[in-house]
Symmetry: C2
Subunit: 397 residues, 2 copies
DNA sequence: GCCATTATTTTCCGCTGTCAATAAAAGAAA
DNA sequence: TTTCTTTTATTGACAGCGGAAAATAATGGC
């Protein structure tokens, strides 16, 4: 059933080798010379680093049939063989678990979701293990080994220690989830905060490729944010960073569960929008879908609710841009389904509140398929694998 | 007159050597073993890196007379010989130029200020050159060479290019100040933003020593901020970062010169405080000193003006803490002279607005002698010197 | 078949930092 | 005084990385 884990290690023993591999991974097929230029190394270094990776099957070589130049020796393209290894990514929310099986290039091969009724650690662990087992069965069908498991949880997560310090949605404190999951599944486990995991996926495979400073903002139940500065995801000295949701925008705004008033999340989070929609329209509004419907139907005041949310998000993003000067901000999240309702406000209020050249920051949106969060977890697992970061491994107990 | 520049280079050719030198510079006298531990290197590496630095006189050796352990070979302390080299730091404001002569340990040896009446590039350059000349004369008296000049200017400054992109106070755009100053003074010049320069001084010689993530917030005419993330000062993709002054705290707040309402600077900047003080007390208030006096005299409403400013600053700092999770925030600036008037509010509103563990962030204050800004510029020059960063050097005319 | 051109590999080579062994500098014990 | 013990510093051998340059490979054009 694939539950035996032959721990495989990645044959990139030097920093240069890791760097070249990630360059090829992010920038698609490259000639050795291009890879050298991109990574700031000599061609000789690339040849040397690439050889063991080719031999181990992580990289493969193609002739560049497409764009062969008129003159000179044709180049050989090097690319990552996605099918060489598989990873499982799992996102745990308060009411469901989403799992994906991805290849080494983080392309999704299978996706599954299971509802979560019991938030106790045991129950969550059992559900997650079942999901992982199911996905590994799919991997067995492909005849490829699963080399790692990534788990994404919202809240305060210590990746290095593999511990969920505090998760409001799950009501967990100090749960050593990585170790538990490693014991249960027999896989090396990487645990990270959900938005940070998503950001790793963007950094390596998405709209953050090639950027050393950018931010990801997620809009949905909560308003999340993760930052990449100097090419690395910011983790914060105390495990908390990117709390754009609790940046206070308006001291006269609605109260937030954090105890303040006028937090971005208290204006633009799902719950806030639904509550406000009820208040404004006087109708019973059960969830976001209904709120969106009301706004689309043009019910009086409904659009203003979204406009106000968009303004709050735009000002939050402007605050990030003013403080960090990122090259790009990527907006994503489930809330994006209503993007047409607040896009304009986001742009306007960002433009108004961004100071000086911070306004040059490129604000993009990325639709977020439901599996994307889990894919982020897989990206974190891939990152641990190829950088040979010590992960939590199945012990003997 | 000291205007001959024998360009001296720093004998630290490997990354390890630079790292060891900065370790010794920041952490005072160290034994070789301690330096190795701090820098994460072997003792052998320290011995090898230290030798050429001792020979060149940048480091010196002392016996550790003070705390000799009972047992074993007594340690030899290695420390930086501050007197080995001198640097000049200059801060240019809208109405004066402050200059200091510092040693290699960034200790101030001489300080001078000259008023600035004309903001034209030529005039500023001439005043600055005079100041530098005067300080170099002091260096000649000590018989030590000046090895670099640092210049700090507020606004949008491109350090790598040595260009002032935009300075509101000086009304400059795209002035290649580093090159001009290098030609005028014959010294290698490092140009940087004033708050970033101050932050380098804190990182190497102040309250930021040993921290990889912290922020410096300056309170005065403007509210400035610079951030250190992953051990490096954040410069921003478009040259703007740390604009805490234009983080909008209150959409109903007073209008700011940036076009928004309720920016931190529009509430807590000097001009805002003075204006508000006039409004509230109905008296003519000419400057901050008078505003402070009124508050200290207990004039009705005067304290509230400062309380409000403190609240704005505290919320701005909380925003930084929420987004970046720094280990420490260092508050400094001329405005600190009135610190007793808003300290409490800063702490309270920071505590209230910081989310979760972000509240663990250590908020400190550092009094700021008037020469401190110029000392920051000197620190930037020292940094360029010891990391052998290419600086703007005197050309041939 | 020869040449120009571009890509890749090979062959040194210098350099860095580690390791393990050794020297040095005490005070303590004999 | 002579040896130990303990801790610090130095030395020399060494493995490995990544660069420069030369060699080799693969083409299309003559």
């Amino acid at each position: 059933m694939g539950s035996t884990s032959r721990t495989e290690t990645f044959p990139a023993h030097t920093p240069a080798a890791s760097q070249i591999f990630t360059t090829v991974l992010s920038h698609g097929p490259l000639t050795r010379l291009d890879a050298a230029r991109r990574a700031g190394l000599s061609a000789a270094a690339v040849t040397k680093a690439v050889r063991p990776l080719l031999e181990a099957g992580y990289l493969v070589e193609d002739a560049d049939e497409a764009a062969r130049p008129a003159l000179g020796r044709p180049a050989n393209l090097v690319r990552v063989d996605g099918g060489r290894a598989l990873f499982v990514g799992v996102k745990v929310t308060g009411d469901e678990i989403i799992g994906v099986l991805t290849d080494l290039c983080c392309r999704i091969r299978l996706a599954r979701r299971v509802p979560l009724t019991d938030r106790a650690t045991r129950a969550v662990l059992a559900s997650a293990a079942g999901l992982v087992q199911e996905l590994r069965a799919g991997a067995d069908d492909l005849g490829v080994a699963v080399l790692g498991l990534g788990i994404a949880v919202s809240g305060d997560v210590d990746r290095a220690e593999g511990v969920v310090r505090y998760s409001p949605f799950l009501e967990w404190r100090d749960v050593p989830l990585a170790e538990l999951a490693a014991m249960t599944t027999g896989l090396p486990v990487t645990l990270d905060n959900d938005v940070r995991a998503l950001t790793i996926a963007e950094q390596w495979f998405g709209a953050g490729v090639g950027l050393s400073d950018f931010a990801v903002v997620t809009v949905g139940a909560g308003i999340g944010c993760a930052l990449v500065v100097h090419g690395q995801v910011v983790a914060g000295a105390h495990g908390v960073a990117g709390e754009i949701g609790h940046v206070a925008i308006d001291p006269a705004g609605p109260p937030c569960h954090c105890g303040n008033r006028g937090c971005v999340e208290a204006i633009a989070g799902d719950a806030a929008i639904v509550a406000r929609m009820r208040e404004v329209t006087g109708r019973p509004v059960a969830d976001t879908a209904e709120a969106v419907a009301l706004a689309h139907q043009g019910v009086a005041g409904a659009r203003e609710v979204y406009a106000r949310a968009g303004e709050a998000i735009g000002r939050g993003i402007a605050t990030v841009a003013n403080l960090l000067g990122p090259e790009r901000v990527i907006i994503s999240g489930e809330g994006l389904t209503a993007y047409d309702l607040f896009a304009e406000q986001i742009r306007d209020s960002f433009g108004a509140a961004a100071f000086g050249s911070a306004a040059q920051c490129d604000v993009q949106t990325r639709p977020l398929p439901f599996e994307e969060w889990a894919r982020g977890a897989a990206a974190a697992a891939i990152q641990s694998f190829i950088t040979s970061t010590p992960t939590h491994r199945p012990g003997k107990g």
